[in-house]
Amino acid sequence: MQRVSFRIPADSREDVLDGVLPMLPSGIVERHVAEGVTELASFGAALPAEQALRAASPVELEALAYEDVPADWRERRRRFGGGAVMIAGRLMVRSPDDPPAPEGVPELVIGGGGFGSGSHPTTQMCLALLLGIEPEGGAVDYGCGSGTLAIAAAKLGWSPVSGLDREADAIEEAKANAARNGAQAAFAHADIATADMPMAELLLANAPPPVQARIVSELGPQVRHVIVSGFVEGEMEEVRAGYEAVGLVPVQGMAADSWIAMRLGRGDG
């Protein structure tokens, strides 16, 4: 197994991929290496020759190099990474197979495949919004999936923290992830459509509009902040209006790939 890598101007990425991507059946992994410079890498047993890659690219491929690499994906992932995401420059979320975060950068290590493991833009936006508020009590994560948001809240100082999800497998993953990260958080299998709704100062809900509506219908007076995502632009007004009707107004909003995330707070400050 070999790996090929090269560097290109970041703004020429799509034009380069038009030429080289169909030649690379394993696809490419992209990595930011310097301001305006992107590294593209691929792997395979029979990679195209250097001359063919250069001929297919509209720009010069800098630092083009081939090297032997392990066939096992876990070994390659441990060596080269590719699955970690940095949130607001302050927190790295990675799988157990990715290299550790750089020294001094806090990290969450999230295993399993349940929703919320950090690769989806809604999870990333919720984390970014969570990083923007000071802990002041407990937190509940509705539709917690792998537990990323609840575990992040616990690590940031919210307490007590709990998470609910209708998928039993996700709850097992969330428990394992809490242990992996040394986080104090309780997770329970529950269908949010019908379950009792625990309340806390912070609610996290990366979940579609019906879940948001259920939260609104059960909202308690102790709730100070709600971080929501899991819906698209066309659903935002419905979600926003629901929360505003019970006294929670948007404080901060984010959007990515048509997905929306909002932090809402009490209108009385």
Binding site: E14, L17, D18, L21, P22, M23, L24, P25, S26, G27, I28, V29, E30, S42, P48, W73, R74, R77, G82, G83, S95, D97, G113, G114, F115, G116, S117, G118, S119, H120, T123, G145, S146, E167, P208, G230, V232
Partner: protein, 140 residues
């Protein structure tokens, strides 16, 4: 002017990743491909030269499926709403992703129906996919 529905050209463009191409009964181009793509890799899964390319990026909890226009024609895609977010919905998780597209060539529009079925294999750190596209001119 090149025939945009030429199966030989489509097979040649996708040869490196094993794309098959054939002419459909009644006219039109059928392309298909299947393989395994590791998490976090962006890989081309279908290519229709001069029309469009589809790239798939499997992530730990979701899939990125990105159409890329090839050529100067306008291109509009509409995903089947029922599978917009199927990864979060157990009931529809095994449903295929479907998109319908129109290539706006003046006087000669071309319709495309793209169908992508995926299976996550966490032990392999990858997603298996089977993809096909039916590309044809609208009935007269």
């Amino acid at each position: 002017m090149a025939d945009l529905l030429d199966p030989e050209e489509a097979a040649r463009a996708g040869a490196a990743f094993g794309q098959l191409a054939t002419r459909m009964d009644g006219g039109g181009l059928l392309i298909s491909a299947a393989r395994l793509v590791e998490f976090n890799c962006r890989a081309t899964i279908l290519i229709a030269p001069g029309l469009f390319r589809f790239d798939l990026t499997p992530l730990q909890e979701t899939l990125g499926l990105a159409p890329r226009p090839l050529g100067d024609h306008g291109l509009r895609w509409q995903a089947e709403e029922s599978v917009w977010d199927s990864y979060r919905d157990q009931a529809s998780r095994d449903a295929p992703l479907e998109l319908r597209g129109v290539v706006d060539i003046p006087g000669d529009p071309i319709l495309a129906w793209v169908h992508v079925l995926t299976f996550t294999d966490r032990d392999a750190g990858a997603v298996h996919f089977v993809a096909k596209a039916e590309i044809k001119r609208p009935p007269a």
